[in-house]
Symmetry: C2
Subunit: 202 residues, 2 copies
DNA sequence: ATATATACTGAACATCTGTACAGTAATCAA
DNA sequence: TTGATTACTGTACAGATGTTCAGTATATAT
């Protein structure tokens, strides 16, 4: 943190703790009693210092009107730092290597996506292994050639979709497997969504 | 939601919006003016109804003292629903199929993990493709046979690690590539961490 | 040596805020 | 019909809260 005094850091830390643990912003008097100050003005001085240093902003005359700079608040929720080229000697956590953040949760809208655990190795040549999680965007159809969740007679499988001549071909990506041809007029079939991501826990 | 009237739902929705978008709890008068009420007591009635129905709790005599029941607040942050067997006819979103939640962000502690974008196809046979994100737990060493980030002369690569006879063998998983043998007494070498997950955005 | 920033105390003030009480009107169940 | 619930208006009040001003003391920089 940039140029904070020990006391200012303590107070800022307390603000972060309140937000993280109780999800509320304390009043100046609450902060005051927490630190044992005898005047709320002591807190005010610190808050104004924190504001000047850009860590918070204050809404005038508004109770609990402290807004924590999102850069610091979401420190933990930014996602995983994406590290680029690693220079010799520098620790990997060095910020210079930062290319961005991999925000896994933000990547996929929970209301439109779900995860499906893959069983079997029919898609290994597409880099989808047994036990992988397919991240699926729920949609009723996909374009030819896309990988999708196909639901045949209530059984969900991940395959490449190829509609042709009124049939639906479920094309595996494994030389030892053959495509499955489905006649939608005979067999109960629907698309469960498009596979938009893969996640594997090693 | 359980037994909420339309108005109560509007107000509760407003509370959630404030928390989600501005990260603060409004005062009763702020809610009042938002809805165009002419008395803060109108809000109070609704808040007490919401409290009775268990959606919020109120801290007495405390400004902005509304706490939203975490069950509703974190509704969106549960992660992706993991869907299991899909029964014929049932929509995939049916809760009966729920096996759990894939909480990607919670899976990895941001302070100990980082993501590294894979370049090249030296690990395709391990199911790691060009462009994949390796999720790496920062640690100074790994066991033999584990996949890790190897940093050789400042260049980071993902390989299977095999220490042998004082040398470190960086073993690719691609029949067209050969292992690289590193002499740590000559070449600058260190482990950047263990690969604990793979994520691919299609 | 002087000025500036930090880290408070202490008292007072205006207003923000939750609360209380008294109503009105509409809806709905017993 | 009666009573309860919902959905407000309107007034008033006590206390919570941000703010201001006047100080004190210490450390740090110029």
């Amino acid at each position: 943190m940039k140029g904070l005094t020990a006391r200012q850091e303590e107070i800022f830390e307390y603000l972060l703790t309140c937000m993280k643990e109780e999800n509320y912003i304390p009043t100046m008097r609450e902060i005051s009693t927490h630190f044992g100050f005898k005047s709320p003005n002591a807190v005010r001085d610190h808050l104004m210092a924190l504001e000047k240093k850009g860590l918070i902003s204050r809404r005038d005359n508004v109770s609990r009107g402290i807004e924590i700079n999102p850069d610091y608040l979401e420190q933990e929720n930014r996602g995983l730092p994406i590290v680029g080229r690693v220079a010799a000697g520098t620790p990997i956590s060095a910020i210079e290597n930062l290319e961005g953040y991999l925000e896994l949760d933000n990547l996929y809208d929970c209301s439109r996506h779900y995860a499906l655990r893959v069983r079997g190795d029919s898609m290994v040549d597409a880099g989808i292994w047994d036990g992988d999680f397919c991240i699926v965007r729920e949609q009723p159809n996909v374009e030819n050639g896309e990988i999708a969740v196909a639901i045949v007679e209530g059984e969900a499988t991940v395959k490449r979709i190829d509609r042709r001549d009124g049939y639906i071909n479920l094309v595996p990506e494994n030389e030892f497997y053959s495509p499955i041809r489905v006649d939608p007029s005979v067999t109960d079939f629907r698309i469960g969504g498009k596979v938009v991501g893969i996640h594997r826990v090693l």
